[in-house]
Symmetry: D2
């Protein structure tokens, strides 16, 4: 059992259910001395907040974070940082009906088999609201990474069949203001039209989230099971609706020739770099100094108002129409979750890497 803790030297434990009193996380091992206040965290939490456009659920969740421990005089103390968001707008009545059947595409059945019963209110622990804890923790890690010149930027690459234009990758900043979290304002508009049309058909959409991490030095990642890509894959695949993860050119490499896929190293002045980046910044599980690129493929929201077949508690075949306020597509809100999981993973592996050389340890304690 267990499974709600992620990381090794920095550990993040999330807790909380969709309709419980509160949700949160405990971050242990976060280094001391970094300035931190609620605003640093709220900034990222607000990016997963619903109710800001028709791309998301109409539920209002303010999701204001509170720092309960681990910060003193405006700085992290090195001891566990406990963060909490109180649940305020949860209407359990909305969900009384779903207690009686298994929603297709949801974990209801698995939870019942595993635990014997389940907190059915809003999906309980399997709700997307669990990611509040991840994003809160990610905010801290990203802040420290930024101080080291490392940026972690996730954005929506596509929704349904609407994809961004690659030219927009030069400036990712629009992703912070578009309702779809796309960096391409034109694609964003088309995607919004698709979303609205799909919702009217009582249906939902999926999409692709891309994350680019710049500034990570070569040498990060631990052979063989804690490879950088292996831990990124785990961290991103652990987000509810993600069904595939790829690094660099990803699935495409299966049809490449070796001569196409290999990235040539080149010396540019004193720096070692690569002429291309098919590898997505990771070779043999270790960062190669190039930009790290990954993509998460997100399934369409399973809660739809269309008629669906399923079974009820008594094992009878029934048809249902799921009511309630659901996101027609979770991609825009999941973007910051992907970004957060990547930030946690990278920072933790950078700490692990500090003891890779005997000389580094000797030097540290001189």
């Amino acid at each position: 059992m267990s499974g709600s803790t992620f990381g090794k030297n920095i550990t993040v434990s999330t807790w909380g259910e969709s309709h419980g009193k509160a949700l949160g996380c405990v971050i242990d091992g976060f280094p001391a001395g970094m300035e931190l206040d609620e605003g640093d965290i709220q900034k990222l939490l607000d990016r997963r907040k619903p109710g800001t456009s028709s791309a998301t659920t109409s539920r209002k969740e303010d999701d204001l974070v509170e720092i309960l421990s681990g910060v003193f005089d405006g700085r992290t103390t090195g001891t566990p940082i406990s963060l909490m968001v109180t649940n305020t707008n949860q209407k359990s009545s909305d969900y009384s009906e779903i207690a009686k059947y298994y929603r297709p595409g949801h974990a209801d059945y698995g939870f019942d088999e595993k635990y014997g019963f389940r907190d059915y209110r809003g999906g309980g622990r399997s709700s997307g609201r669990e990611t509040i804890g991840r994003v809160a923790a990610g905010a801290l890690c990203e802040k420290l990474l930024n101080k080291m010149g490392i940026t972690v930027e996730a954005y929506t690459r596509s929704i349904g069949d609407v994809e961004i234009d690659e030219s927009c990758l030069k400036d990712l900043s629009p992703r912070l203001t578009t309702p779809t979290a796309m960096p391409d304002v034109i694609a964003d508009k088309r995607a919004m039209e698709l979303i609205n049309a799909t919702r009217e058909k009582n249906d939902s959409l999926g999409g692709v989230i891309e994350c680019r991490i710049k500034g990570v030095p070569a040498g990060i990642g631990e052979p063989v099971f804690d490879k950088l890509d292996a831990l990124l894959a785990r961290s991103v695949m652990s987000i509810g609706a993600v069904k595939a993860v790829e690094i660099g050119d990803g699935i495409s490499v299966a049809t490449y020739y070796g001569s196409q896929n290999n990235d040539a190293f080149e010396a540019v002045g004193n720096r070692i770099s690569k002429k291309t980046n098919h590898s997505g910044g990771i070779l043999g599980g270790i960062s190669d100094g190039s930009e790290i690129i990954l993509r998460a493929y997100v399934k369409p929201t399973p809660s739809i108002a269309s008629t669906q077949e399923t079974i009820n508690n008594e094992g009878e075949n029934i048809t249902i129409n799921i009511k309630g306020r659901h996101d027609p597509v979770v991609v825009p809100r999941a973007v910051v979750v992907v970004e957060s999981m990547c930030a946690i993973t990278i920072l933790d592996l950078m700490i692990s890497n500090m003891s890779s050389k005997a000389d580094s340890i000797i030097q540290f304690y001189k």
Copy 2:
């Protein structure tokens, strides 16, 4: 640091370099009382053995496994099982040249940056030979899973642009005898032709490995970070050349509508099943009782004889032609590695699941 250990209740630690004295693994926490001899392990190891066809390197590696501990009177004792394969056919001279430069597509540069130097012989720790330990451990786990009626079957789905015909999925057994590990003997022939043609062009190929796991009960996988798909993704992405992992319909779901992607539950007699299996047997990170399906996308072998650009130790731009005996495609030999990692992951999570209900624990100790 560290990173060579995988698993929680069953832990697998691999050790060894391509050209060291030996390679192996230690499996701790494997339950007591299962009959085990070298033959059980050799059977799987032979599936990753090279030199059996022109699809693989011409190096001869017998890779005979020796059980050093943890087995007594033909049964596992519950204590660590130490398995070793002695290196016999390693010619370090083949590799003296690659000490001087960074091979494109390899971890050479990352290792140097991380550790300050590297065992360059045959890739050292980043060699595919490291997977010997994984397969040896996987053999044990798969044997125990089989006793529970669970089968784990990986096979080659495609090499380059040659893909198997889905009709061949009815009988996967040919995968054990075709040189490509495809279950489709016709596609196998075409793939072999492609491999041979590619080798003659001093180039290499990638491909797709698919794994199907039948018989896993619903309820396996731990929310939220130790989700079944998250741990499968990590375990499979930790295999050297894998650049993408997908579960069920994987990347396709990003363009589905919810109404297409959701699998309807249905009661068939006393059993709960699903009308479709887009989910690949996993919902919300927990097994749903259907067949578990995943795919690993494998890049083309980076070691190619064609001329490539790179840099040498002195940071000078040079061109190289990599000599030595290399697999023109690693997919056929990696199939059993994927199968092994899946077997280890599933068994470990099934053990974790044993304590999900308070009643189970009380019952166990009655």
Copy 3:
């Protein structure tokens, strides 16, 4: 870093500082289906509450626990249980002075060296208040153990030179009502006199806590590093003021002969038992079916009002008199902490033991 999480299949992460907003813990992996309400936890928390007699500080801390997650319809859900106690009676002003110097016997200096600064209010994270999270978690584990017929009973064995009479071990229940947590009401009175006399001398006392665990079956504990006694030693030594831990006859065995120390096995009807119990219920790190007995040696409270020498922030030698409301002896309040840590350790190892035999796993999934 990190270090605030304990356990393997059941993990307990504590968080919070003495004078922060709140303290608490997250218990992950606790099995589903056990009835639980705040009262179950409060019962144990009240045993560490101060202000109930002159044996403890006069600070008033109600320490009311709140269940924030992981419980639904009065039962544990299998998901993380987040427990919180809000700090209500913390007067930071009391501690403003100690910010300026290192208190002898405290971790102040270590924290400053480690983290660069410290939350000095009431000892911050190194305060005994951190144990609130441990006791809250221990309450859950003890409840489940009780359902299996296992009892965990800690009590004060001695304070200063006042020791209980062994005849009182027949009935341990008085430990729940005596101010010293001794099961011997006569020794309790003498100990209280000693405590009061010592406080008047501006001094403090230590003592010995003993814990007896009945009903644990033989076979619990994992060779070789997760031995039952090794993990108990860690769990109990991790309590702030403990300076020694012994199992069974403990330090005495160093001067025994083998013929004295060995416990003879005997068959009593169908049961296997031992004629003596010098081993304290643990042989080779595994429970032997006898009562498990351990003792923790607790140092005198370091915060005393007597004049002491130390240094200040500027590195000057100074003398101090520590003010504030301190326990003249922490033993009575630490008793339930020892009991809690033992309960967590035992339950976690009992879960680990469920997969010791291959047949058990096969049987479980039939």
Copy 4:
């Protein structure tokens, strides 16, 4: 299950049974670049080798170590170091009888209950020979600590009622040549007389091992569960025959007054030190810069030739006389095991401490 792995950033996994083919360990996460050859390890292994005097068993075990991986060109590579000692002088016939009954003071019964059967030859996994892996790993860690000016020195403090004279602590070097591992040659002679006399009476002895660690900077140890003393207690208590562990003044502090026990800080020039060291170098679980002192209390060898009562496989009460070549006291050979476990624990925590401050991480990657 599992439990054969110790450590976090440096992990040590031991494997092997007394009478299996071999024993060994895998050390993962050991930093790269330290010179290492078999001689570095053999030096420590020879200190636990039996057959060198009448204080130990007459069994001849050469215990020659072989490095199988992780070292290249005479230096550690940062990848797993696999170390193996082949069993050469194991006579399984000596042990055929003990298969039929449970030896008092041994783990036989626990193993049978746990695993359903046991490798009874020489105690199998519960044999003292398992510590070969610990000492081999300890040798590496101690070598690196020495490079940082840290010494770890364990020695025999007492055997039975023969204790060393404290004046001998000034020069611990005789411990490396006396048969008892005492630093006091006079006490050593008396102890040898006691050992010989005890063996003639078919009995055995216990004793006390003390370990002193000099040069550890203040700040090592992680609050709250990974306290330096908590992890030392676990690591030392995990050695087979240890029944108690104490830090600094240990059990004595229970009867001290606070004014006696507190160590005054003082500034000596630029350095902060303590006037006394009752704390044994650890305050609040964190090193305080003073010498770290711990003691392990070791029980008398349970295998004695005297007549003992026990039960056989059929559950019948019987009497036995254990034959075979056993140590009359394990203390002298266990000294280097205590030293090794302390070295592993300290080095691992020093690595964890490297990320305690945000500034350290930023500085490291500049």
